[in-house]
């Protein structure tokens, strides 16, 4: 079976339904395990005390904020180059999920920053570039809403998504390029994670739970989008006949 088989919307719907169920169950199971590990099993940090537990939701949220945008940008590029309708839908479907995780990265970061840095917010490079990412998501979703013709909307949104992709490496490397209050990467680094396994494991379980959650919602939202397009096509056929 080739990729073309699944690129067919009817085949996609059938397969997506099955994957969605499995991913949903996996997300729920991993989330429960991850919460237990994060809140009960993981030790308090010798410097940060119990506030370090916020890391177990903050870091996976921030990873997802970047992951969803990268996914959105790649899907947009595929949509622009190969004009495949599923690519448009994938990009559109991932935006609210990414916006949600970006919002969560900002809020949980703020709740961590207050006790550790003594402030809810600073205009440093990392925090500011993530705030810009949040507005990019909102702008992207607003653009889809604003343009009535769905093909034109898809094209405009895809162009915005690709322009905004410049922000992704800026966020990732902001902590190295500028002097930020935010700490540099401690898991995704060239010389391996600089974090104790007792904290790395809960973090990875939570990250996997968020990934499975993303897959579940992405598929549900793509299937919804596909249904809405079929409804629109049926209604359009009415008007022309």
């Amino acid at each position: 079976m080739s990729m073309h088989y699944f690129a067919n919307p009817t085949h996609f719907t059938r397969l997506a339904g099955r994957i969605q169920q499995w991913a949903g169950g996996l997300a729920a199971g991993l989330l429960i395990a991850g919460l237990y590990l994060a809140l009960v099993v993981a030790p308090a940090d010798y410097q940060q005390g119990e506030t370090v537990r916020i890391m177990f939701v903050h870091v996976p949220s921030a990873w997802m904020a970047l992951f969803c945008y990268s996914f959105l940008a790649v899907a947009s590029a595929v949509a622009l180059i190969w004009k495949h309708p599923l690519a448009d839908m994938a990009a559109k479907a991932s935006a609210p999920i990414g916006a949600g995780f970006t919002f969560l990265a900002l809020v949980t970061g703020s709740l961590w920053g207050k006790p550790m840095w003594g402030t809810w917010w600073v205009w440093d490079a990392r925090l500011t570039s993530v705030l810009i990412l949040f507005f990019l998501y909102l702008g992207y979703m607003a653009l889809w809403q604003a343009i009535e013709d769905s093909q034109k909307a898809a094209k405009a949104a895809a162009v915005l998504a690709l322009v905004g992709a410049v922000n992704v490496p800026i966020i990732k490397f902001s902590v190295d390029w500028w002097n930020t209050l935010h700490q540099p990467a401690s898991v995704l680094r060239m010389d391996g994670p600089a974090i104790h396994p007792s904290m790395l494991w809960p973090l990875l379980v939570m990250a996997l739970a968020f990934k499975a959650y993303f897959v579940t919602l992405l598929l549900a939202r793509m299937r919804m989008e596909l249904n809405l397009r079929r409804i629109r096509a049926l209604r359009l056929a009415d008007r022309t006949s």
Partner: protein
């Protein structure tokens, strides 16, 4: 009981730790239910529309 109180206190940082976990679960649950509701509604709408088309076809014949 004492252990629960101690757990909830989070070493004095409970007012930061619990809202952080709370907002994450709340937003994730909200997005989950909104997505599932939207998908289910689209499924029912499409089915109803197709059914009404089928009835029209039958009526025409």
């Amino acid at each position: 009981m004492e252990r629960i109180v101690e757990f909830m206190a989070m070493g004095g940082y409970g007012t930061y730790v619990w809202p952080a976990f709370g907002v994450v679960l709340a937003v994730m649950a909200l997005l989950w239910f909104a997505s599932m509701r939207g998908w289910r509604k689209s499924e029912l709408d499409l089915r109803a529309l197709r059914e009404s088309r089928r009835q029209e076809e039958i009526a025409k014949e």
